[in-house]
């Protein structure tokens, strides 16, 4: 019985990790599509979201069954609850990738600003590494790494502020850039929020270890908008 449970729990971990990798790929592709105005790739991201949503539903069902059948307590229950809650964070990260992809499809010959686009690409590269690192921290139950990853979110928020200010500046100077810059701002906002979700997952990794929810970057979350 116990061995079957261990195996089921391990399957759950692997499934969560794979969902995380799929989400990271969606984020990466969506930003690549946005920067390169690649509508085909953007459509791929949108189509792929169905599988990510299914992952969340499947994980939810498996968690539910495992609790009902095995009636786990303490550490085991905590592991299952973590997957149940953190899979929502992954799913929402996937939703943001879809939003970025939809921005790409919306863009129709808008006037571009290559400098801001480069900043967005750079910001998303950081977030991509954060997602990779937090998944590794999850697999290795590495609390130190989880905390380190969460700290990187401060840098991402800083990038967002920079992009936001650049967009405001450009829009004030040039009415023709308004439409494009609005999308830059929105996309940067989505990437910034993906960083927040990574912080949430870091918090879950700490919860797994300690049984307590620690709020990381409290001063920082929800406070990413610059006082322009």
């Amino acid at each position: 019985m116990r061995r079957v449970f261990e195996e089921d729990l391990n399957d759950l971990h692997i499934h969560f990790f794979q969902m995380g990798k799929a989400v990271n790929e969606a984020i990466y592709k969506s930003v690549k599509a946005f920067v390169n105005h690649d509508k085909a790739l953007a459509k791929e991201v949108i189509a792929g979201d169905i599988a990510i949503n299914k992952d969340e539903a499947d994980l939810e069902n498996k968690c539910f069954e495992l609790i009902a059948l095995q009636q786990p307590v303490t550490t085991d229950l905590r592991k299952i609850v973590t997957i149940m809650k953190a899979s929502s964070d992954l799913e929402r990260m996937g939703d943001h990738a879809v939003s970025i992809a939809k921005s790409t499809i919306r863009v129709k010959g808008n006037k571009r600003d290559y400098e801001i686009e480069a900043q967005i690409a750079e910001m998303s590269e950081k977030v991509k590494i954060m997602v990779q690192d937090v998944l590794q921290a999850y697999v290795a139950s590495d609390v130190t790494k989880a905390k380190k990853v969460a700290l990187k979110d401060i840098d991402v928020d800083h990038d967002f502020k920079k992009i936001y200010k650049a967009c405001i500046r450009q829009m004030k100077n040039d009415p023709e850039i308004v439409l494009g810059a609005t999308d830059y701002m929105l996309v940067a906002g989505f990437i910034e929020r993906i960083g927040d979700y990574v912080t949430n997952i870091s918090e879950w990794i700490i919860y797994l270890d300690t049984g307590k929810m620690a709020e990381l970057n409290t001063h920082n979350k929800n406070d990413s908008f610059p006082k322009a």
Copy 2:
């Protein structure tokens, strides 16, 4: 034992409902503060978010304890899991209220557009009623009402598109409105996302009844941005 469990479960329901009411008040106050440029009220919303976050953590702990101690199955487990997951939706709605409040504090003598502000107030009034209705549907386990509430989100998304387009138009015409209109767009975006979370809660109410997650407004979620 069973009676104690029933009481605990009932306490959980009441706590969830009260958290929902607190979140709705935060949303209402944040939009009121934004439209009236009332920084004191905005600060109240920001300060109040600590209690909302604590509600989520408390609910999480209580759910965990109840599962570990009572080892519920089927319907009872489903009720607990729903509260565990849906409390995250409420908490995020609270976060969006904070974001709206922070926009209010950011505003410093920006040029205003009273027509767009009125549209935002109207949109938020609809969302406020949606939140009230979904909480009532939750308490009454009213699936029909839950579905009706979710349908209203289509109207809210429509409002968002209208506001978004008005902002783009104004920004193109008048560089002085850029800063203010950016905030209008962001705030309308936050309200729109609150509507999405209401839809999530409707889905949870259906799950409570059927044991299955139904995706409501699939065509609609994540698709609120207009093809400007």
